[in-house]
Assembly symmetry: C2
């Protein structure tokens, strides 16, 4: 499903160049659940942004569902983002003056879904992350972990092929983290592919594969003990 080869990403920060990704290569099969770990600044979010078609690599190739992402025009790219990928940002990226319900409806709006379908699917997604009673709150009226769960619901609502989650449990207590991981596990059983960044061993332990990053490179890629 995902075939990324020798990805490089160089940022220009004024006079200095930051080589955030140094030839990262990665393959993920349909229905796999992969965890990415690594120290702060090691390139995890940079890699996720490229996999999520939110950023282009400086060099290297990336094929998603068999398509060469580099060849996709703006509109086709936007469609792929909307229809194939559900992205949970490390910093949530919720619309400020918009309710949780409307934030979650947004991807369905872009997908052209009608009002009734949007409302019912968004309500269901919020139900799954335990936030039905906060659907009319705006992000500033939600706790950090609640904002994170709205971001997760938004990523699920279009039933995408791939979920890319950047620290999905960073602001969640252990009990709520387990609930979110159970939810992701159900989706994997149902055929969804999940790539998640985490710094918590307990979360990585639930993935089938754990990828370790260091200074922009993938330094290990290990299958977890369980079948």
């Amino acid at each position: 499903l995902i075939v990324a080869a020798k990805l490089h990403r160089v940022y220009d920060a004024g006079e200095v160049q930051v080589h955030a990704l140094r030839g990262a290569s990665l393959k993920v099969k349909k229905g796999e659940c992969v965890a990415i770990m690594g120290s702060s600044g090691s390139g995890k979010s940079t890699l996720m942004n490229i996999l999520g078609c939110l950023d282009k690599p400086t060099s290297g190739s990336y094929y998603l569902c068999g398509e060469d992402v580099a060849r996709l025009g703006r509109n086709r790219l936007a469609d792929v983002r909307n229809q194939t990928i559900g992205f949970v940002f490390q910093s949530f990226n919720l619309l400020a003056r918009t309710s949780a319900q409307e934030n979650v409806e947004l991807p369905l709006y872009y997908a052209g879904a009608g009002g009734r379908e949007r409302r019912s699917k968004a309500a269901e997604a919020l139900e799954r992350v335990g936030l039905s009673d906060r659907s009319h709150h705006h992000p500033s009226q939600l706790s950090g972990g609640q904002q994170q769960r709205v971001a997760i619901a938004r990523a699920l609502v279009t039933s995408p092929k791939v979920i890319l989650a950047d620290e999905p449990t960073g602001n969640l207590d252990s009990k709520t983290s387990v609930e979110v991981m159970d939810l992701l596990a159900d989706l994997v059983d149902a055929g969804m592919t999940v790539v998640l960044v985490t710094h918590e061993q307990g979360i990585a332990a639930r993935a089938q594969r754990v990828i370790e990053m260091c200074d922009g490179e993938i330094v290990s890629d290990v299958r977890n003990g369980r079948t």
Copy 2:
């Protein structure tokens, strides 16, 4: 140092009222290190915002360094925030179009420190969180964990009496988390008082006391095994 009694905080979210704090009472001595845990939405940040003089309780009393915070005028309150408290926000709250260096200098600017003192103290604080080589980056040019460390450096730079840290390691890998906790431990040894919110057992284990919150109430307050 901190004496909070029967704190209540009710939010009005449209038609619904959210009773985020239900009579939380808390005492913290000078030089103590206290961890606050609890499920997502249990009131941790609400409590921290009141302790940090960033929000007023709906009812209840709060004495900081012997002063009744409710009686403080706007200016006095701003002084207390600037001189007594170092606050690490759950969502960092860094200034966007400003470098890491300048973000960390900000509290010193409000404290009236001269340019040379500001620059050298800010550089030292960034050094302590391992970000000397990122001092000229803007937040958008920093990884999540790097932004978090800039927020920590900013909270330390005025050598406040109290550090209030809301999930200071939420975005940090274990190694960097340990470095941050070592840093906080040194500050506690040097007489600083630290109250931190965390959802990670390993972090809470390093505090002298662990407070558990549930639905706006403090349900347990236990001393950790170590002296």
